[in-house]
Each structure stands twice: as structure tokens, then as C-alpha cells.
Subunit: 143 residues, 4 copies
Amino acid sequence: MAAQFRYQRRVQFHETDLAGIVHFSWYFKYMEEAEHALWRSVGMSIAPPDPTFGFPRVNATCDFKAPLKFEDEVEVHIAVERLGRRSIKYACTLKRGSDIVATGSMTSACVTRDPNGRVQSIDVPESVRSRLTQDGVLPSRRA
Amino acid sequence: MAAQFRYQRRVQFHETDLAGIVHFSWYFKYMEEAEHALWRSVGMSIAPPDPTFGFPRVNATCDFKAPLKFEDEVEVHIAVERLGRRSIKYACTLKRGSDIVATGSMTSACVTRDPNGRVQSIDVPESVRSRLTQDGVLPSRRA
Amino acid sequence: MAAQFRYQRRVQFHETDLAGIVHFSWYFKYMEEAEHALWRSVGMSIAPPDPTFGFPRVNATCDFKAPLKFEDEVEVHIAVERLGRRSIKYACTLKRGSDIVATGSMTSACVTRDPNGRVQSIDVPESVRSRLTQDGVLPSRRA
Amino acid sequence: MAAQFRYQRRVQFHETDLAGIVHFSWYFKYMEEAEHALWRSVGMSIAPPDPTFGFPRVNATCDFKAPLKFEDEVEVHIAVERLGRRSIKYACTLKRGSDIVATGSMTSACVTRDPNGRVQSIDVPESVRSRLTQDGVLPSRRA
């Protein structure tokens, strides 16, 4: 079974806009913060000191169900939905208490850079694959 | 025919991340900036001084085709793809020169707030509808 | 004695720039997040539901001593340095472990808006003043 | 005489906060965007493809005089106030029409990284110095 994770964080003032609610672009940042917390929870960093590969986004999507306000506590439930040979798709649900405020997904490709700086698609390394498929729901962590 | 627009802007330093490229959340902001420029081009503001309605997002999606770098010139081609009774869907293509760097869409609902602050879906006002459906491709504008 | 507070948070990926370190504008956001956490710690919100006053910035300054990197844990030590009749000045020290990464300050004026929307300087309300001057160092809180 | 420059840009929706005005952290980004436009105007990039040096901030300060609102046109007047041996200080005035909305400054150190990644202060290269001291007020440019 693939890794799952819950990530909590409080809405900050600078994340709101003149409509008085969180700007929609922040929902994508919340999902990414949860992704990186999930990686840390299985002992990895999305940006290791000496990387030979990286994970640029190829797709991101979000359905917005309810607004988030300043000082709300939001919880991102993130799971690896599909672990492809050369890509990872995450499914996310954003909740405030028991209310679902958004659902979304992010897909990243695994790439490397050749000596000329050209990006090339490569297989997700086995070390990453094994950690992202370890069993069980991981405990909730705060920002 | 629905309104179309081209919006140009230069990638700023603070929009990049440690991978050396524009953070994916900025593509959504570029699309939104183009939307608001389109509105200005037909004599409207998405945030008029005394609004009785607003346009929160209900969906946003983006397919990322190529990275953007600091000081790149990006051009957002935006068009009203579907003007529903109570919603507006925009289709966007982000280009650098002749290269397509991303395609995406944003859908917003037309809403009003009742005296208790509750958000209610309403019809897109006729004044907005008529301006967003006027003919022709509008000229390119810079940020 | 004036209120003091420690606020902890982890550096996020989207806060870095192409130089591989946190963009300097984020240091100001970290200080502000600490300010709002300090307010919450004494039972207040900087943005109450029905405000008759607000606290726009009149000055902000920061001396940057060391870079912050992705996934660093930063701790903001914030204290009310001067509680004027119509303004509040905060002094901040940003630390990573025992290293000081920055020192800074923020000064806000207390204002109200008259019916025509004009901003007017007013005295800091007594309810705010009494809470911001209560004794003791408050315990550290996470984001 | 040192380089001067005027940089124009429109306030975007996502730069505002729930107080209905531009978040104060954006004033620092506006100043930085102006700095980089000034560099481009004299034929340089603050982030050249193969840099042997960089310019991290050592100080930034801003006095906020008036709020900026969505769709305002802001103009940043930037000048090299002091070109030290190992640092550059910029002085900025932010204007909306003839109104001054803020004044501020940014100081950057010139540094290099040794093979172990340690940052070391170095002299501002002569190529940079000569371009930043060329005569005359440069014409205004848009974002």
C-alpha cells in the first residue's frame, strides 16, 4: 500500500486576498507542503543536498469546495495515488475540521539533467519507490 | 464570439525556487493576471469598488510542458472557453516565444453574499456577459 | 513587562529562490507570522471578525546575517519593543538552532476608517494594550 | 553619477490581503523587481547563466506612507545610493501618480562561494561597477 499522510497548518494573513479568503494559488502550495512532509516522514527530502534527479510537476489540479479564512486550521490528507515507472501522482483532500474545503492532485515526472542541462525523463529510483510504498497511514504532523 | 486576450510579463526572481525555475504555483497566478487584464481590456474590474457579486474559483488545472526561467518573457493567451449561466471557464496557453510552456484552465462561479455572509450562487450579470462575449481578439498588453 | 513570544516554523520549498536560499521577503512574513501567533497567545486576533481598528505597517526593517535553506527550522523571537500611544513596535530575532540568522523590526500604527473610507490614526485600544503588556515570556508555539 | 531607473508595474490581485490593500512584504519585491530592471537596463542580469559571484541582501528597510490597492499603477524610482567596495546600497521611492507611497532601501553584499560552499565577501567586480556608475537617468520601463 502506498504512503499516506496528514499535514496540518494554520492559514496565515499573507495568504489571504482582498476577497477576505485564501488565494486559490495557496491551495497548491498547501498540497506541496504536505507532499514534502510526507517525504520527510519516510526519511527523504524532495531536495537532497546532492541530487541526481528531481521531480518537476507535469500536472496540478484542484476543485475548490469552500473558502479558507485567516487563522483557520487546514489539514491536508495526501496519498500516493499512482506510482508510475517515471512519475508520481498524489491525491489530496483539504479539510477544515470535518468539512472538505478542496480536493486536488499533483503529478510529477522523475527527471535528470544531462551535462548540457537538458532535462530527461528517468525511472523513479528504487530507493524512492520502496519508501513511498511502505505500509500504513503515517501520523499527522504539523508544519 | 467570446473575448480573447494576450498578456505578457517577465519572470521575476522571487517567482523562482531552488530548482532554478519558476515555482508551479506561479503559473496559476500568471493565468489569473491574464484574466484580470482581459477584464480591464473590456472596461471592467474583477474587484469593482462596490461589488454585489464575486467570482471565486471552483476549479483550476494546469499541464506543465516546459520550465520557465528568471527573466523569461511569458505570454498568456486567455479565452473565455465557456460562459455558463452561473460560471465562467477560461482556457489558457502559456508561451515563451513560439514554445508552449503550459496549458491550463480556471473556472469561477458567480456568487453573492447574503446579509449573514453566506455565499450563494447567482447568474452572471448581463453587463458582464455582454462584455465578455464581444467580438474579436483584443491586442496584447503588458503587465 | 511587554509580551514576548517564540514562534517556530519550517522553511518551505516555495519560499526559496534560484539562489537556493529563502528569498529575503520571506523574513518579513516570518516576523509577521510570529506577531500574529503572539496575539493569539494572549487571546486576540490581528483580524477580528468585526474590527473597528487595524494595524497597517509604517516601517519594517531587517538585517540578514545568514541564509536559510529548505527544511531548516527557524525560530522567531518576537517582543513588543515599544507600545506607543498610537503605534506598536516589535523587535524580532530569527534563529536556526543557536545561530542568529536575522534581526528585524516592524512598526504598526493603530488606525480606524471613517465612513468615507479615510484612514485616521487612533489610540491603541486599552483592551489591546493590557494584553500586550501582561507579564512573562510565553511558551514557544509551532506554526 | 550612479545609475537611476524608473520601473512601473500594476498591482495584482494576489498581492493584496484581507485588509484590502497590498501586503507590506510586496513593497520589498517591487523594489527588487526595480533593481533587476535597472541591471537589465545597463546590459546585466542579477543572475547570469554562469555566475562566480552573487548579491545576497544584508539589509532591507521600508517606510510605508500610503496603502496600495488592486490595479493601482506603482512606479519605483531606484538609484544606487552607495557603491561600496564590497556592497551596493539602493535607495527607492515608490510612487502612485505624484503621491509617494513608500521609501525604502536595500543593501547587498558581493559574495562568492568557495569549493566547500562557504560564502565569502569579495570586491564588486569592475565590470559591474563601471556599468552601475554610468551617467544619466535611464528611461522608464514597464514590467
